[in-house]
């Protein structure tokens, strides 16, 4: 087969691939005849079919620029306004598998979405706006107001389409996070609220003041009267938990323990001797349960021991 002939056969393979998506039986039969004409046809078809399959995990994460859509932002930033960091496919699949608890509230249009320990779930609120719930997370949404969300407990990653007329508002522990078109991650646990911004900008309202957070900034807001603390954060690490990655640069082990617990569906209590110890590095989760904790002990330089409600994290070798 000449390269010219092969080129046109490749074009034919693409046509078949397009046609068969909604093709009738005559199309399938004609396609079979085309395959039978030359063994090269099957190989060329494989190529386009595999190329299309390879898109599957990527498509949820890309931005389809539409003409006349938020041009002000597009002009300001050359890159698309938001984009998932990393691969969406694994998490999306996990989200499909995750069991969802829906608590209908008949009295108003609010409803609750919760994930169990170790589960994940992606909620699409409207075009371009998605919320991904990490494990052991509870959130409230409003059927009538898709620009509202409340984080009751746990952690979630927000990917918000900018709309100047209708800012997206998140309520968390009496604080408010108002987006200005962005990707941001929020954690609410017993100790604090943490917000990290990957793209765009949010306004964080707490304790009577408003703080503007840009991409690459994070805020730690403890339950004490202390003012919220703003720090730098690695943009690539925001929401990395969606891909089973936990990224740290000097965060206390207490936070690592809470994150691990959420991801693995276990209760992990840090002993006082390690709770404040800073940890830097990336944890890539591969498994679950005690075996996964065991695997992580060298990297964290700790020991995990079973206790009444779960596991205690202590300094390595402390048990002997």
């Amino acid at each position: 087969m000449t390269s010219e002939a092969q080129g046109s056969a490749r074009a034919r393979a693409i046509e078949w691939h397009i046609r068969l998506r909604h093709g009738d039986h005559a199309a399938w039969e004609a396609f079979a005849e085309w395959l039978a004409e030359d063994p090269v046809h099957a190989a060329l078809y494989d190529e386009i079919e595999q190329a299309d399959l390879a898109l599957e995990p990527l498509l949820p994460a890309v931005t389809f620029r539409e003409a006349a859509n938020d041009t002000d932002i597009d002009d300001r930033r050359q890159s698309p306004r938001w984009r998932w960091w990393g691969l969406g496919g694994g998490a999306a699949a996990a989200a499909v598998a995750a069991m969802l608890v829906l608590v209908p509230q008949a009295t108003n249009s609010r409803y609750e979405v919760a994930t169990g320990p170790g589960q994940r779930r992606t909620i699409s609120l409207e075009a371009g706006t998605q919320v991904t719930l990490n494990g052991a997370t509870r959130m409230r949404f409003d059927r009538k107001d898709r620009r509202f969300a409340a984080l009751e407990a746990g952690e979630a990653l927000f990917q918000v389409q900018h709309d100047g007329a209708r800012p997206f508002t998140l309520e968390v522990a009496g604080r408010r996070v108002v987006d200005v078109g962005t990707v941001f991650n929020v954690v609410r646990d017993a100790r604090a609220v943490r917000v990290a911004v990957a793209e765009g900008k949010v306004l964080y309202e707490s304790k009577g003041r408003t703080i503007s957070l840009d991409a690459g900034q994070a805020v730690l807001d403890t339950s004490s009267a202390e003012a919220p603390r703003v720090s730098r954060t690695a943009i690539g690490s925001v929401g990395a938990w969606r891909k089973g990655r936990l990224v740290y640069s000097g965060e206390p082990l207490a936070q690592v323990a809470a994150d691990l617990g959420r991801a693995l569906g276990m209760r992990i209590t840090p002993a006082p001797d390690v709770a404040d110890r800073p940890f830097s590095g990336t944890i890539a989760l591969r498994g679950t349960g005690p075996a996964e904790l065991e695997r992580l002990t060298p990297a964290l330089n700790v020991t995990f021991r079973p206790d009444a409600g779960g596991w205690t994290m202590t300094a390595a070798g402390a048990e002997r």
């Binding site: 397009i18 909604h22 890309v62 984009r83 691969l87």
Partner: protein, 198 residues
């Protein structure tokens, strides 16, 4: 295999199983043209048959096309899991030979970088398409709209829609994406007998 009235009859519920029986040899031929061995084709069709029996699939408008699509999906599933099995075995051999593998984060960091790279590549490909081509591709590929409807909606011919889609797919094919994690040779479908654990 020329009669359309058979399709019409099988609109009545369980007709799909009967249509399957009638179409089976054509489906087997299709699988062999796609590169499956006779044994593999047999197993794949057995799987499809069982699925049809187990799931009460409602009446479908185009039963034979439906069965082709279903067979094709099962074929892809088999090919994919065959690739995965090979990889698993390679990993196992890797892990049980030579020096102990250290517990490090390299593989996943690498996988992450590849994913990032792939995503950036796809974004570039899509951004590089003309606006209308991109919109048509999104409606077809993401929203699953038939070409007919897209054509009517935009007010262009079906063949024009097809040309836009072909242009998008050509750009995608040229970019050479790697299938996430499943890698391997897509032509590789050599499933050992007796190991059908799907």
């Amino acid at each position: 295999m020329s009669d359309d009235e058979r399709d019409g009859q099988s609109l009545a519920g369980g007709g799909l199983v009967r249509t399957f029986t009638e179409t089976r040899s054509a489906l087997a031929r299709y699988l062999s043209l796609r590169g499956a061995t006779a044994d593999e084709a047999d197993d794949i069709l057995q799987e499809v048959h069982l699925k049809l029996l187990a799931e009460r699939i409602g009446p479908v408008a185009e039963p034979r096309a439906y069965l082709y699509r279903m067979t094709n999906n099962h074929f892809l599933g088999w090919r994919r899991s065959a690739g995965r099995r090979v990889r698993r075995e390679e990993d196992w051999v890797d892990a049980h030979s030579g020096e102990e593998r250290e517990i490090d984060e390299q593989p996943s960091v690498e996988a992450h970088l590849i994913a990032r790279e792939q995503l950036a590549l796809l974004q570039r490909v899509l951004d590089g398409l003309p606006d209308r081509t991109r919109t048509i591709f999104r409606r077809f590929r993401i929203d699953g709209e038939p070409q007919r409807r897209i054509a009517a909606d935009i007010g262009i011919s079906i063949s024009a829609v097809e040309k836009h889609l072909a242009r998008a797919y050509e750009a995608i094919a040229a970019a050479k994406f790697r299938l996430d994690g499943d890698g391997g040779d897509p032509r590789h479908l050599r499933i050992e007998r007796g190991r059908h654990d799907i």
